[in-house]
Symmetry: C2
Subunit: 287 residues, 2 copies
Amino acid sequence: MATGRSTPASPPPGGAQRRVRGRGIPDATVARLPLYLRALTALSERSVPTVSSEELAAAAGVNSAKLRKDFSYLGSYGTRGVGYDVEYLVYQISRELGLTQDWPVVIVGIGNLGHALANYGGFASRGFRVAALLDADPALAGQTAAGLPVRHMDELEDIIQSEHVSIGVITTPPGAAQQVCDRLVAAGVTSILNFAPTVLSVPDGVDVRKVDLSIELQILAFHEQRKSGEDHLVDEPPAVVSRPGSGAKAVAAAAARSVSRARRGRAPASSEADRGEDGELPAVMPA
Amino acid sequence: MATGRSTPASPPPGGAQRRVRGRGIPDATVARLPLYLRALTALSERSVPTVSSEELAAAAGVNSAKLRKDFSYLGSYGTRGVGYDVEYLVYQISRELGLTQDWPVVIVGIGNLGHALANYGGFASRGFRVAALLDADPALAGQTAAGLPVRHMDELEDIIQSEHVSIGVITTPPGAAQQVCDRLVAAGVTSILNFAPTVLSVPDGVDVRKVDLSIELQILAFHEQRKSGEDHLVDEPPAVVSRPGSGAKAVAAAAARSVSRARRGRAPASSEADRGEDGELPAVMPA
DNA sequence: CCATCTTTGTGCACACGTTCACAAACGCAT
DNA sequence: ATGCGTTTGTGAACGTGTGCACAAAGATGG
């Protein structure tokens, strides 16, 4: 999972009253609701009136028992012997997710990724409205992306307050992310979607979700490696590398460094100028 | 969480021998290893020789006990009273994740997002090499993106076989995703990173991870909604919408439709032409 | 060589998530 | 009405993940 919430759902170390209170939907369920919603929307567009848990689960790619349990947290919205009314369920899930209202968002850092997000149709079609595109580079200001003008960071506070923005998307290089985050929070943003490979620190009450493109690939690589060498190299001693502390610390360090060197400089020549310290996100925005 | 694996780590319904076998790292731990690796790389670049679990955990944004337990699955790589040797740990985690070898990947669908990924520095710096950019649109073929030529889908099979590609990235519109996926798998790809909002079906042995940008925002919206109306509307009856089956199905459907209508057409004018059926991913590639 | 201090590695208990399996509820035909 | 087939909703068992708390292991200073 490429995501994580910074503020855990139930931090109270004292009381342990679990998921009572009628409301109180498990995090895992909340994370799946958008999945169901997408499948239901597709059915709705095909004018399918009702759907069984089995069918919907297949369309969403989950287990049907899990789906039923998930829906049971929302209430009893199905009809036994029949299934779920598609339109009704679309409405209920939308409402539960808060998608029946308008969510203005700002995107900070209009590099390649910010550009892609600005053009992303999946936002507008789900209640999210791009209130503004912001970048620190004055050269970008005035240009348009996805029909919207790119505005300068100086306007950040004004826009957030006048448009009542509570959700911010960070697509800057890692070096600028925390600084941008602080400004967003200070201006009133309470939810942040962070694409920069940085651990953001935020005050209590602010939610951060993180999407890291390279993490996903690394997880795939892990499993891919397993598939290749199923049995061999199960306990292959790392030959050249030995534990530090055994007196061979220098050797280990050298080996590790050679790994880094091999990885670096393999990328095709391109301007390294506008990249973060780690050669990360290609968004244009000097830290 | 924007991700999910299609093939669970332990599908054997017969044997339940948990995590024995020396190897066998929990999924949750694997998902955090890239996080640790990033923090360690940063320390390594600052030439920090050793780090304690407490410090590293803070840098990675996790609990220190969790970090120690995670590392214990890899082996006993720390020194009590001192901490972990940074370079050594970088090497060990890299090796565990399979990043000490070269992973050629293909990116299919060179729209906005594919473009952004091609430029993404975080890939090359971690052992991933973009072997080819592919798109179905002949108009794109020949153009370059991030220094690489965009090639036509017809070359897909040849490239995968000659370059020994085992990882594919799908950034096409949703309508084309399954079809592209099938071709990738048929050609020998066994790990897929899917950015299209589609549930891909793949044969056993193929891993799929999914990144969905709009799902993350929807989860944020859910929590954001909670923050606003903490106590009120806790059991607010949905007034105009009533359950189908009570004889008011038409009303519910109408209300649901009006929601959809309100969301649609709010987006700033842009060509809807090259979008998928759901107005999804903006990648250029006719389904 | 011993005492003390620091930090790892892990047993254990608890919280969370998933899956099974089945009774209750509903539609429909007779 | 009654019975039958279907599908939901959920109690309970199981598996996974998290965090505490502490013993063991090493470093350091005298």
